[in-house]
Subunit: 703 residues, 2 copies
């Protein structure tokens, strides 16, 4: 066991500012020191400059990174006014993410000497101390408090304490030395036979309140509640021994057990056993952070999501039962039923976590939590759940890209923490997610459940057109112009009077707002658009009730927006709408019998508006209505010149689109309202907008 | 002499509606009848279908055209509600202009029988009669009166009476027969020796008032006043005999006497003498409308502008004096000094005009007007002046393309009328213009004058971008957003306080509005833009004081706009501005010493904004100001990503353009005002606008 407890993340709701300064300084120092202590294991300066793995920076970067982060963020918070070393604060600022291929070309970097970086860290420590000692402090320290950003810096360094420890574990053995402050567990025995434990059904509540007294990352806030069905789970984390059966069953040779993405990873990397295993003739050894040891069969296996999932698929075949990883909700059910609490501040945790026990994993039999072992601690546990935002998610203005780039359905949550999960990482509410092929100090336990895995929508729509239309339909009003699809739906409903309101069709529905709005009056509304991407967006909104997208601020800068059907008063009508991809010039015959067809900003986008206009009466009930709104922006790219229905000289005279509409529709319709100009605004950037008037006419089908 | 006088264009300011109906009916009938009588000269039905010249429709088109014009225009005026024959009213509506290549392919037309068109004309006559007898009539009939459009139809047919007579004259002789109603002049004698007459200097006033009692075409209205220097003019129109000297001097063989455009015409058509001349061995004959006769040497030669101009150039060489055609202003000086008046309604004109005398030209010695002959009548006289709009020009809403397409500097005015110029064509105020290579019953007289020919600007800017910017800078306000360049100039001037205001630079001046506005405060302002087209537009505006452009209404439909510096209160500052083409990233060294540089919507269009921003201080006087306004719409097409000065993540943090400006400009400037958002609107169509906010900052150069 390590000698002293590593400081816990402070409670920020105290009322004594002097005490709070002291506590924060202690938390800062312990973190800063422990981080530097980690680098003491490096055997030589060269160890700082040789990359442990090709796709990540060498360790010198990480030594500098956590220090520059303090300065960069504290400048944003206006707690620091002057840079210490602008060059370092640029060089060490970005490049953490393994996918930044561009920034990782060695030629771009001329790393400074280790001594220079260490000297820089000394200067940063002094600057942060200065802040802690002198900056104005109003308690409590909450999300909006400038000091929150100071905590952000400390917790950020704690995350890197763990991730750097992984990199060190991946470094070549000659580059690292054992170290008394990083003593691994020495206990090992035969692995236990795993067993299954029943977990009763129940409700889990996730999400941290803004009044919670501890620091949290953006993704932890908001709320999420779910009913979890009964399921079974493995008593122990899967041990190296248990995983060996999969390896020996040719698990890495056969493709069958692997999901597509996992198979691609396996075949690309040519993995044939877990990454920290070492084959030694007919024996196996295990790489720990600083040494190689004989295989610890009763310790948890450490794998990425793909390997864990392949094991489950193999196990399912063995058992003939539905085996998979737990979802995030299910993991919380384990936590709740095990009766766990937060890591205590006054004694060692009853789990291999927070560096309270070892600088390595330990046997899966060592920490019992109710009927299970290792619900928290030892190694992180992969889940089936890609990280997603809870209801009420907001980004913190000083770190708007902490989580949002991972809302991409490609980053899965890991839960429970590892032996080196400290500070925020050790809290029940913490949520970390990594790419599924990524290695951390992470393993897994499996569950048996018939319940399908609900994959919550996490994705932010970033396609420029879709995002602009999402905002156009569901976002803010600009220049005082009322929401356009809503205004048209209201005009249509008003014109309907007490006519039958059975079915309506929203042709060219785009992001679908008018479809929802019409469903407040009609029994059923179909939204159709030529673009499958729009249909995907609208369908997802109808299903999830929430829509997330990025909006361009200026240049490449974006911000994040979330809209909910419920907030728009449209949650009730979700069951009354459907969205289909279709071509207004060639609709399926079944799409008929509508009491209203709404065609907003459609006709000047069609390749043959005449085809649409001359047949649309066939789809409308007698006495039914057709609403057409268009700015008549005829463009060759959408509609060949010869297909325009107006906007040109005809027989020498100006022939407007309205005249064309009257000519074509006049045979089957009577103009009952309009023309009137309905404005709309499409936001392109924070400062650039399209501001357009759409000429609106309402036509009644002649009985 | 023809038996009865052909009705004169009526005075529309009577007070007796019944009498007015009667007079208009008489005018309509005489016109409609006389037009049909012209077609009586055609020898057979085939004569209607064979084209007299390849680039124009056959005569059947013209027989139908003037009738359909009545119906099409009266429908616009809402005086007729029902079409008579929609097919005819489309087929015969357009295709008058010889340049409509597309519409002239024979395959497109399946012309109706002559009898069908004649029957149609009978129906139209009845319909128009019905209008004249029954439509509500409020006197007087002015430009805004629906009946104006009825007069438009009649005067339109009178124009075609003349142009069709030209086509008939161009028809092969077997297709035409002499006709008692179309008797040519039979008198001829030896041609007179031409001489020069002095014309004293004086002022001419052109332009018809809206209160004039006769019908006029759009181009006649407004006002134009000019001082005409003294000049000499030929006493007679140039006769066939006088022109023969040019032909015999190899005038058509040698290129030297021809202007570029005329030389191209001559060499393309291989003309070697006037088009109605016929070479008969060593003799010459002359084609009249319906017959060939021995050359009439004392009749006026009939040529196009190019031939007339080449003759003048030859004559100039002969005389060693500056010989050219008269300008429109000079022609009015002839008219005024000859003491002429309008064609009388109760007796034959004292000129070969209005069909009062012959269905052909006559000797140039026959009609004396003061010291000159044929100031009006006989044949039209080409001028040096391309048609242009008078101040106050407006299009008539029922015929917006009567004149506007000819405001292109390629259509020259002809003056004075011919033997068949009737109705409006015979008035002093009438203005007709044709392409310079076109044949009418037109010849010329020449003048000797040292005065240069002022070519008034007639062109409507139709380039979409330039027109949009012309409207953006000088046009209407939309959505209540004040004029943007004016607002910026005001902000700059306000910030100047009482600093020295010697020189200002408007960088990225576009259409130049801010340049003019700044010149109200500064002694001299230079507008610079990268686009030579913008510089051309702004320079023309500064020189002419008037700017004309078309604005897109919807699709291909446009309308015409005119703006004047005087109306904007900017006429006085014309002398204080200059416009130069230049590159803001690479300005000439001489452009320096400015008390103010204004850079509106510039920096996010530059290929290297940093180059501009980091050197601009060198061009500003100490204490001088720099105003930057931009929506920061960074686009790769203008500015490569690596050249952006903000709008991206830098060292992991959002780095706005404003932050970039502060960083770059901070070395030499102090931010003294802003940022504030100044809005602007760019109109694209009647219904589509860009609505943008431009972030504005004002910087003072440090001492």
């Amino acid at each position: 066991m390590l000698r002293t407890l590593f400081e816990r993340t402070p409670r920020l709701n105290g009322s004594d500012a002097a005490l709070m300064r002291k506590e924060i300084q202690g938390y800062f120092h312990s973190t800063f020191d422990r981080y530097e202590q980690l680098f003491e294991v490096l055997a030589c300066d060269q160890a700082y400059y040789v990359k442990p793995i090709p796709l990540r920076h060498p360790l010198i970067f990480y030594l500098g990174h956590t220090a520059t982060f303090f300065i960069n963020k504290l400048m944003l918070a206006n707690l620091v006014q002057e840079r210490i070393n602008p060059e370092f604060e640029s060089m060490f600022a970005v490049g953490v993410d393994e996918m930044s291929w561009d920034d990782l070309h060695d030629a771009h970097y001329d790393w400074p000497q280790v001594s220079e970086v260490k000297a820089y860290r000394v200067a940063v420590r002094a600057a942060v101390d200065q802040v802690i000692l002198t900056a104005p402090l109003t308690l409590p320290i909450d999300w909006n408090n400038p000091w929150w950003t100071l905590l952000m810096g400390i917790e950020h360094e704690r995350i890197h304490l763990e991730t750097s420890s992984v990199l060190i574990r991946q470094h070549a053995l000659p580059f690292v030395n054992p170290h008394p402050a990083w003593e691994p567990c020495h206990r090992t025995a035969a692995a236990p036979a795993n067993g299954l434990v029943n977990v009763s059904a129940g409700t889990v509540r996730l999400g941290k309140g803004k009044d919670d007294p501890t620091y949290g990352w953006d993704n932890e806030y908001g709320c999420h509640e779910a009913s979890v069905q009964t399921f079974q789970t493995s008593r122990y984390l899967v041990s190296n021994r248990e995983f060996l059966s999969f390896v020996e069953a040719d698990g890495y040779t056969l493709d069958d057990f692997w999901e597509d993405e996992g198979r691609a990873w396996k075949n690309h990397t040519r993995a044939d056993f877990p990454t920290f295993w070492i084959r030694d003739g007919s024996n196996w050894r295990l790489r720990l952070m600083l040494e190689e040891v004989p295989m610890r069969w009763d310790w948890p296996v450490e794998v990425n999501y793909h390997e864990a999932k392949a094991f489950c698929n193999w196990k399912q075949e063995q058992l003939g039962q539905p085996v998979r990883l737990p979802t995030e909700d299910e993991w919380y059910r384990l936590y709740d039923t095990a009766g766990l609490g937060e890591v205590p501040s006054d004694r060692a945790a009853a789990a291999n976590i927070h560096l309270d026990h070892y600088a390595s994993p330990c046997p899966v039999t060592e920490f019992r939590h109710g009927e299970l072992y290792d619900v928290i601690g030892n190694v992180w546990q992969w889940t089936e759940t890609p990280i997603y935002p809870f209801d009420g998610f907001q980004v913190h203005p000083h770190y708007d890209d902490f989580t949002t780039p991972t809302f991409d359905d490609r980053h899965n949550l890991i839960k429970g923490g590892s032996w080196i999960a400290c500070g925020n990482e050790s809290l029940r509410s913490s949520r970390y997610a990594f790419r599924r092929h990524f290695f951390q100090h992470a393993g897994f336990r499996y569950v048996i459940s018939e319940a399908p895995v609900a994959l919550p929508s996490s994705r932010y729509e970033t396609d420029r057109l879709l995002s602009e239309y999402a905002e156009f339909h569901y976002g803010d009003e600009y220049f005082g112009v009322p929401n356009f699809p809503k205004a048209l739906a209201q005009l249509a409903v008003q014109a309907m009077g007490d006519k039958p309101a059975r079915k309506a069709l929203d042709l060219g529905c785009a992001a679908g707002r008018a479809t929802f709005e019409l469903a407040q009056h009609f029994e059923h509304v179909t939204g159709i658009d030529f673009s499958a991407r729009f249909i995907g967006l609208a369908t997802e909104f109808a299903q999830q009730g929430v829509l997330r997208y990025t909006l361009t601020d200026e240049g490449e800068l974006v911000f994040y927006r979330e809209r909910k059907l419920a907030d728009l008063g449209l949650d009730e009508v979700r069951r009354k709408v459907e969205f289909l991809q279709g071509d207004a010039c060639n609709l399926k015959p079944m799409l008929t019998g509508y009491d209203l067809i709404l065609a907003a900003n459609l006709i000047d986008r069609l390749y043959s508006p005449l085809t649409f206009l001359s047949t649309v009466h066939e789809r409308i009930t007698p006495g039914g209505l057709l609403l057409i709104a268009s700015p008549y922006t005829w463009l060759e790219e959408h509609t060949k010149r010869k297909e325009w229905i107006g906007g040109f000289k005809k027989d020498g005279e100006s022939f407007t689109t309205l005249a064309g509409l009257k000519e074509v529709l006049g045979r089957h319709f009577r103009l009952i309202a309009g023309p009137l100009e309905v404005p709309f605004v499409i936001r392109e950037t924070r400062r650039k907008f399209q501001h357009t008037l759409s000429e609106t006419t309402i036509w009644e089908k002649i009985g």
